[in-house]
């Protein structure tokens, strides 16, 4: 895929270059591992300072400032420190980390070694989802290449600093993307997320040692932050929304795909109707899920108004929402992992809901009560609604079940499962009520099956 004209590709600069492969030769040709040398000439704390200054926010979904996360690390315990790259990309609608790992793996390795050096980790892991068979192979080969060249492993760049890097394959569970679930999985257990307190990864993480878990894209950004300096990096994008983001657009647009833009460089409308070529002929926009399937849905005809953090007032339609961290957040949703799912008017919203509920019911680890029972219950309700058994009161019931999950679970999966239902039912209440009186003909007239 060719880079779109308006894109600013930093992370994916070379990914789709026809002459660029994932071998180390290409990476070195483009100045690879030079930043690692630069980082090694700095003190580890200085590297951390640059990352803090850059303001880079986590690209995994929560958008927490990465430099701040590193600050929480317990360095006094005397226990080993671990760095884990969360490469369990599984949020429906997200497919950016795949591009990095398959097409430019050395960028990740360099970013990780810089991060490991900064936090003082002697052992690092890449936890990659099992469906990325080839991705794991590519990473393993790249790590070997990096080790052969002294960029990873023992005595990196001839220094006394060593850090091993191991690729660990998951086995098909969305919950492994939750950092404490990932840690449990890495320890060889069921990935039941841990209770916090007391098990904050930065203090009691992998093997009860201080651990930093960062997303693939975040760790790649570390490399660019050190290359250009934190302050320079912070000039990309907007304050509090620094750097670029890789937006993954899927669903019913003409040109779905991944597009890297400076934060805030375009609006949701520009993305859908400009970059992605708009909808299929004759279709109109129904709704957009802006940040992976767990983010709250936005209705095409909604108006959003309020005050931004800096005090400026806004009054936006869906198309006006700026694509950065704060834009989707200020309209009550989130940019999450950057997965924009577009739905046109052919979509039956209750079926879309049923599809999402089936996902969360399947992926709930089952450890804690509200998520385990609530996610399956919501699936059963929406499944029934789509099988001719809808009742008018189901809308309220769904909303109430979702409300009973949110904020009461061990991990954020509870919110991930509740937010879609809360937003779908609230914003498309009529569709849910109408379902009770839907005729068989109406049902059969829909070509697109979602459940």
């Amino acid at each position: 895929m060719n880079a779109h004209l308006q894109e600013r590709r930093i992370i994916l600069k070379h990914a789709d270059d026809p002459s660029y492969s994932n071998l180390i030769g290409c990476y070195l040709r483009e100045g690879g591992y030079e930043t690692l040398k630069k980082a090694f000439a700095m003190k580890p704390e200085e590297v951390g300072e640059e990352v803090l200054k850059s303001g880079v926010r986590g690209r995994g979904g929560a958008g927490f400032p990465a430099g701040m996360k590193w600050k929480f690390l317990d360095r006094k315990s005397g226990k080993p420190i671990y760095l884990i790259c969360n490469a369990d990309e599984s949020e429906p609608g997200t497919f950016k980390d795949r591009q990095i790992m398959y097409k430019d793996p050395h960028q990740l390795i360099e970013g990780m070694m810089i991060a490991a050096y900064a936090i003082g980790a002697k052992q690092a892991f890449i936890y990659i989802r099992a469906e990325f068979h080839e991705g794991a192979r590519i990473l393993n080969r790249a790590i070997q290449e990096a080790k052969d060249n002294g960029y990873c492993g023992d005595n990196i760049l001839g220094s006394s600093y060593s850090c091993d890097l191991v690729v660990h394959r998951g086995a098909g569970a969305y919950i492994c993307g939750e950092e404490t679930g990932l840690i449990e999985s890495l320890e060889g257990k069921r990935p039941n997320p841990r209770i916090k307190p007391p098990y904050f990864p930065a203090v009691l993480g992998l093997y009860q040692c201080p651990t930093i878990v960062n997303n693939v894209e975040t760790l790649c950004n570390v490399r660019h932050i050190i290359e250009m300096g934190g302050e320079e990096f912070a000039k990309i994008g907007k304050p509090n929304n620094t750097g670029t983001r890789i937006w993954c657009v899927s669903g019913q647009v003409m040109k779905p795909g991944y597009y890297e833009f400076e934060c805030g460089a375009l609006t949701l409308g520009e993305m859908i109707f400009g970059v992605c070529g708009g909808l299929r002929p004759g279709r109109s926009l129904k709704a957009v899920i802006p940040g992976g399937s767990s983010s709250k849905i936005l209705r095409a005809d909604e108006r959003f108004s309020g005050k931004l953090k800096d005090g400026t007032e806004f009054d936006w339609g869906l198309e006006d929402i700026p694509l950065d961290f704060d834009g989707p957040a200020s309209v009550g949703s989130m940019s999450g992992s950057g997965g924009i799912i577009v739905m046109d008017d052919t979509v039956d919203i209750v079926e879309a809901m049923a599809n999402i509920n089936a996902f969360y019911a399947h992926e709930s680890c089952g450890q804690c009560t509200p998520c385990r029972e609530g996610s399956l219950w919501m699936r059963k309700i929406t499944q029934r609604m789509c099988s001719g058994g809808a009742r008018e009161e189901d809308a309220d019931l769904l909303l109430s079940v979702a409300n009973q999950i949110e904020g009461r679970t061990i991990c954020a999966f509870g919110e991930a499962a509740a937010w879609p239902t809360q937003s779908f039912v609230t914003k498309f209440r009529d569709d849910f009520i109408k379902k009770a009186s839907e005729t068989v003909e109406e049902k059969n007239s829909r070509k697109l099956q979602l459940i």
């Binding site: 429906p92 394959r169 779905p256 997965g339 799912i341």
Partner: protein
Amino acid sequence: MVIHLVQDELGAVNDFACEWIANRLDLQPINIKELVTFYPMLREKPWGRKHVRVCRTLPCALRGSYATCKSFEKKLGVKEGHVREDGEYSLEFMECLADCGQGPVVIVDEKTYENVDGDRAEKFADLLLDGKLDESDEFQSYEDALLKKTEE
């Protein structure tokens, strides 16, 4: 990791394998069975010789993955979630495979194929059944496309 290796070797991790692994790692077999039954990619019984995965989740569904799966069921002669009686093919309608931009996404064994929708799905199934998928120009896997780049 050990479990993956055992599954690669045996195609599945049955009770005997659980005990063997537990023994090696100084664990209890239940510790292994807990994992094998939790993770969808780990199996207690092997899939077919060719295992076909179709993504079910919303982005792929919006682009017709339910139809793709149905058409595979018909063509391959096996219900999703099952192995064909002769053990040749198995079909799995599974959750998000993280390639949502090019849905419906299909994975055959370890290779990912994109935009396998509508008529293309039928063609795809035919090529698969004829053993000609690898040679096909129309369906080049995500992995093969990259491999080609490294070879050049």
